[in-house]
């Protein structure tokens, strides 16, 4: 059974001046533990798609089915990571990481201990009682990931999660995040405008058309067994990487016309 099914989903935004069709008959099937990368021109409805899956907005037509039940509103099975860390500057790192659990009334001694352990595992020990402004961009992004993982979702939505970071940090954090997600065996849907990032992390890359967005093509990324669950940096060095890059680049550019 598919983990997530997106059936003929369309979405229209209404403003006083205009009506915008963000998505038209979008279809996607995601199996469990799959890492999906979605790329597309800016404004093609990538982020809208994630908001739909997260249950923050409702599709105009079509349905989204998670584990056999249609999505209506937010669910604790889904974790959503936004473009920036949006850590609350008045909360300590530990309290930031606990935010989701607190909102869901699941903050217990056990869950607190688990989050503390995660902070330790991901190189943030000693920072539990620091405030966000005392951390580097990469560290903050890791705290945001822990905040998302703390609620134990099994589907993760990443909306250009590294776009606010500088290139160096971006590669390093991408490496960390990939390792962490593989280790937790999560199903992931990551939206990005960075083709290389998508290829280096995903099992399958979906290319979207310009607005109204729909699936233009799919690329199964297979670097061979020695690269499976491998590091994004290592994947970037593989000769196949360039082939995938060239193919997807061409797809996206033919969109432009």
């Amino acid at each position: 059974m598919a983990k997530l099914l997106i059936n003929n989903v369309s979405l229209k935004y209404h403003t006083i001046e205009d009506e915008i069709e963000a998505l038209r008959e979008f279809n996607l099937k995601v199996t469990a533990e799959e890492f999906i990368g979605i790329v597309g021109p800016s404004g093609c409805g990538k982020s809208t798609l994630l908001s739909l899956i997260a249950g923050l907005i409702k599709p105009t037509t079509g349905s989204i089915i998670l584990d056999g039940t249609p999505i209506s509103g937010t669910t604790q099975k889904i974790g959503y990571m936004l473009q920036q860390d949006y850590l609350f500057e008045w909360r300590t790192i530990l309290d930031n990481a606990l935010l989701g659990l607190e909102v869901m009334h699941r903050k217990t001694p056990d869950s607190i201990a688990r989050v503390k352990q995660m902070l330790k595992d991901y190189g943030l020990s000693g920072f539990e009682n620091s405030y966000p402004h005392q951390l580097s961009g990469g560290m903050r992004q890791r705290v945001a990931l822990i905040r998302t993982l703390a609620t134990e979702p099994d589907l993760l939505l990443l909306d250009e999660p590294f776009s606010a970071l500088d290139y160096q940090t971006r590669l390093a954090v991408g490496e960390d995040v990939c390792r962490i997600l593989c280790q937790h065996r999560k199903t992931v849907i990551m939206v990005t405008h960075d083709i290389a990032e998508a290829i280096s992390m995903a099992d399958r890359v979906i290319v979207m058309t310009p607005r109204p967005g729909r699936v233009k093509s799919e690329h199964v990324i297979d670097f061979g067994p020695e690269y499976s669950h491998g590091s994004p940096l290592k994947r970037r060095e593989s000769p196949k990487f360039r082939e995938y890059f060239a193919a997807i680049w061409k797809e996206l550019n033919s969109n432009e016309q």
Binding site: A54, L56, G73, T74, T75, Q76, I78, G79, Y80, L82, Q83, Q84, Y86, F88, E89, W90, R91, L99, G100, E102, V103, M104, Y131, H133, T151
Partner: protein, 273 residues
Amino acid sequence: MNSKQGRQALYSIEHVRYLRRIRVRRRIIVLLQIMLLISAFAIWEAAADYGWINQFITSKPSRAWTAVVNLFNRGELWRHLGYTIGETCLGFSVGTMAGIIVAAMLWWSDFISKILDPYIVILNSVPKVALGPIFIVWLGTGLKAVVAMAIATSVIVTIMVVHNGFKNIDPNKIKLMHTFGATRLQIFTKVVIPASIPTMIAALKVSVGLSLVGTIVGEFLGSKAGLGYLIVYGGQIFNMSLVMAAVIMLSIVSALLYYIVVLLERKVVKYNH
């Protein structure tokens, strides 16, 4: 202290000189501030003594001081100060709390906020002094009318500033809360309130001054105690020393109240080093 000295020993001579220069500069500024005040009073005193200005209408610092001492000896000083400070604090607290509650309601319902918007703008631009006689008719002269006046002068600004702060919170922080399935109340208590604390303090700084304005105006219009009463009473019997003494005390009170808000700010906004 010890660690500071220890650290200083590690600095280069240039850095130590730089620190000293800054320290000296800061001291000179404070010194000049104090001297400016003292010389203003000294010139005033001398000008009155040598007859350059008419003591009868300008009074002079030493006579203002005598007026304060007289008030103290008659046991009235603390009563007047107490009334003004008490009325201001009462008006300020009630006005601030009411303002924050109304701002929260406006944040809660954008619809209500849109409906009330023009009325709030108009209420803000109406000179609150004009309401004084109404309060006196409704509440009688004295404490109640004065406090009502203090509330009226400060509450609208508090509503506007705080509501603006509530509205200007990063929508992505709210989106983040939505992704966790947060209720509107959770969003309010966990994001909106803590994120608006700096704005609320800024509102307090404005409204503490306005509450004092309201209190003094209220005391002008109808009261039997307070610095505002002393000023009007002194003016009526042409006792300018009393008027000047009350105005000087009023300046000190207003500085003190403002300083209390600044202290509060330092205590509350600790993450914003």
